[in-house]
């Protein structure tokens, strides 16, 4: 089966064994208990990443990346299975900050920019590796298994209509439902 799914990963990162996964999930639980939500990101970095992710999947029409806790997923990924990507985040984020200063002199932070300027800023970095990395993490954080700290309250799954269950029965969709036979 052809797939583009793992291409980015195999080129840029791709590092984990099951011990890492257990660590990631344990980390998520410990963080929730301790009230110290971030292990790798500092609060400023977390705020900036949250601001970027929140424009990628905004909350204007309903819950988005922010409510799904994407930044918590990213922190956990960087603390566990994607720890080799920490430097990519640090340098990538520094690049975005440089772009922000260039585009919006005098601005204090990404999070402090008005929404239209945040959008302009992301447009300006769309072709960077960091954008691809952040987009990949944002979407895994939105739509991946909630045990990694993202997809809170199944916000991502509810958005697309996905339901994680162990048993389904036919009919599965509209077109295999005999009740709709011939109607289409």
């Amino acid at each position: 089966m052809p797939s583009t799914r793992r291409l980015w990963l195999t080129q840029c990162a791709g590092l984990a064994i099951f011990a890492d996964l257990a660590a990631a999930q344990q980390h998520a639980q410990q963080a929730a208990r301790s009230g110290q939500p971030f292990e790798t990101l500092d609060p400023d970095e977390a705020r900036e990443i949250d601001a970027l992710a929140s424009q990628m999947v905004p909350s204007t029409d309903g819950p988005g990346a922010h409510e799904a806790g994407v930044v918590y997923f990213i922190d956990r990924a960087l603390s566990t299975f994607d720890s080799p990507l920490r430097d990519s985040y640090r340098t990538g984020l520094a690049g975005v900050q440089a772009k922000r200063t260039e585009m919006f002199p005098g601005s204090a932070s990404i999070a402090a920019l008005p929404a239209n300027q945040q959008i302009e800023l992301i447009r300006a970095i769309e072709n960077t590796e960091f954008f691809e990395l952040l987009r990949t993490h944002t979407l895994y954080g939105l739509l991946g298994n909630p045990s990694y700290g993202g997809n809170r309250d199944h916000i991502g799954w509810k958005l697309i209509g996905f339901d994680d269950r162990h048993v389904f029965q036919a009919p599965f969709g509209y077109y295999d439902d005999p009740a709709n036979g011939g109607a289409w």
Binding site: P2, S3, R5
Partner: protein, 552 residues
């Protein structure tokens, strides 16, 4: 896990390398016939309780497959390029191998697949050849595989299939919306869609429960044992004999030979990376179409300086690829494709190669669920969707459950320039030469993918898609290849093949090689049924040879 326990210094009757689709079959056949068997598997011994519904673990991370962090792979398109690290091939790395995480499509080859060279003629840049066996030689073994493993399907529904001696043991799985749309459209076009033959239980079978339609098949291990992997079917049968020991976490570095050029066993690293030499009267290599070739090349010695079983120079050559494009269509009503198995309908109308088309090749098409949530959001959205923002979010929410994917499964030509070799620069975590993949499409492979893709779009339009798109057919988007075929091809002439018609190495009389590497041609992808039929046949013939005293 249970079964026998053998001392490495005690020569067992058969040492099987690889506990996957082929190795699992070998273990069961040989041990139930009374032979003493050790199976070395480089991956761990997981079972149903270890598997989860977790897209991150099984698609973002290596999950059930080879991990390039410990086993780097390099790829180059041709000899003049410098090979770069990338996960170019992927295989199941655990007891059960790829049969654990595969989609479970279970197509037999057609009669024509075994003599395409005679039918079609030569193809420039490729070494298209006839198989030394015919469909009829494999038919009893296809049937045996279907019954021992548990395959669901409808006999006679595919008008292009070769004759079969028995119907499927289980009825087809219930149709999904993708299958219903596909079937109606294909029939409208005068085509012949049929229920997909799947290695998934539609009803309880041999003590295993029927599929509950949870939807996590492709890339995942089945949590209820309804996918008919060797892990849940034949491997337990092998262990119950008390004559078969499955040794997980055992990574083979060399097959050893004696002064007469006969295999004497294999040296492997155990879980603690200690070297162990397991002695055996005969060796059966089932490590998949990529690792089998690599291990033979790693097993070079004074007597076999080019690698074991490689007097032809063809070990590793003629690597064939996992091929075919995706056509996606958006529909008015929800399909809810995430429910139940990946594929319920297939067609083989465009399967045969026809010289009149001007290029070699053909393909099958299936209707399927091909992307889990994050994968869909990242890679499968319509091209007019922005990559992020409010409009992206809106289109994502409207398309995930409304998208139908038609996947092409097309021929891949055997090209001498396509190969598995040893990388001169990169090493794995055990210090062995890394696998180097040299591969690029043959122009006819590209022409076939495009032609089949045009048929996929015709079907989507006949089905009433509101919008259609493709994820493309660039080689970069087809890494890694998961169908690994052709690197120890079967043939009657030791100068032009690695194994004989019985899957025994021409050069080493007590070495059997039985997996995707035996393939002379690629069929139309979906190689598992043929890998397993070949394994059943090779086991049968190896046991006959052993009883004649040829192997011991």
């Amino acid at each position: 896990m249970s079964g026998a326990s053998f001392r490495p210094s005690d020569p067992v009757d058969f040492l099987v390398i690889g506990a996957g689709a082929a190795g699992g079959v070998m273990a069961k056949e040989l041990s139930t016939a009374g032979f003493r068997v050790v199976v070395l598997e480089q991956g761990p011994y997981w079972t149903e309780k270890d598997y989860r519904h977790d897209e991150i673990q099984y698609t973002y991370l290596p999950g059930l497959t080879n991990d390039p962090k410990i086993q780097p792979i390099t790829h180059r398109r041709n000899d003049s390029e410098q090979a770069k690290p990338v996960k170019a091939v992927e295989y199941g790395r655990q007891v059960g191998g790829g049969s654990v995480h595969f989609t479970a499509n279970y197509w037999r080859f057609h009669e024509s697949d075994f003599h395409e060279r005679s039918q079609f003629g030569a193809v420039a840049g490729a070494d298209l050849a006839d198989w030394p066996i015919q469909y009829g030689d494999l038919e009893p073994y296809y049937t045996k595989a279907e019954y021992e493993l548990g395959i669901s399907g409808l006999a006679g529904a595919n008008p292009f299939e070769g004759p079969r001696s028995k119907p499927y043991p289980l009825p087809p799985m219930p149709v999904k919306s993708s299958g219903a749309l596909f079937e109606r459209a294909a029939k409208k076009l005068g085509l012949h869609p049929f229920p997909a033959p799947m290695a998934i239980l539609s009803q309880p079978y041999q003590g295993r429960a029927a599929c509950a339609h949870c939807g996590f098949c492709e890339s995942f291990g089945c949590e209820m044992g309804a996918k008919s992997s060797t892990l849940v079917s034949v491997i337990p049968m092998a262990e119950r004999t008390g004559r078969c020991e499955i040794r997980p976490d055992s990574y083979v570095r060399k097959i050893e030979t004696d002064a007469h050029g006969r295999a004497t066993g294999a040296v492997y690293f155990d879980a603690r990376r200690r070297e162990v030499f397991q002695r055996a009267k005969a060796v059966v290599l089932c490590a998949n179409g990529a690792e089998t070739a690599r291990l033979l090349l790693l097993s070079r010695s004074k007597r076999f300086p080019a690698g074991l079983a490689n007097s032809s120079g063809l070990v590793g050559k003629n690597l064939m690829w996992d091929m075919g494009g995706e056509a996606m269509g958006l529909f008015e009503h929800p399909l809810n494709e995430y429910k139940s198995i990946q594929v319920t309908r297939v067609l083989h109308d465009y399967y045969r190669a026809d010289p009149k088309r001007g290029f070699y090749g053909g393909g099958g098409i299936d209707a399927r669920f091909d992307y889990y949530p994050a994968g869909f959001a990242l890679h499968a959205m319509p091209p007019d969707a922005p990559k992020w923002g409010l409009e992206y979010k809106k289109m994502l929410s409207e398309s995930f459950n409304h998208t139908l994917t038609l996947l092409g499964h097309t021929s891949s030509l055997p090209q001498p320039r396509s190969s598995i070799s040893l990388d001169p620069d990169f090493k794995d975590a055990w210090g062995l030469a890394a696998m180097r993949v040299t591969y690029d499409f043959h122009p006819d492979d590209v022409a076939t993918m495009k032609w089949i893709l045009s048929k996929q779009f015709e079907i989507l339009e006949a089905a009433g898609a509101k919008k259609t798109w493709t994820t493309g057919i660039a080689l970069e988007s087809m890494l890694p290849s998961r169908h690994l075929m052709g690197t120890c091809r079967m043939g009657n002439d030791p100068a032009t093949s690695v194994v004989d018609r019985n899957s025994r190495a021409h050069d080493v009389p007590n070495l059997v090689i039985a997996d995707g590497s035996n393939f002379v041609t690629s069929g139309r992808q979906q190689p598992t049924a043929t890998i397993q039929a070949l394994a059943y046949r090779a086991a049968d013939l190896a046991m006959q040879a052993a009883r004649r005293g040829e192997l011991g």
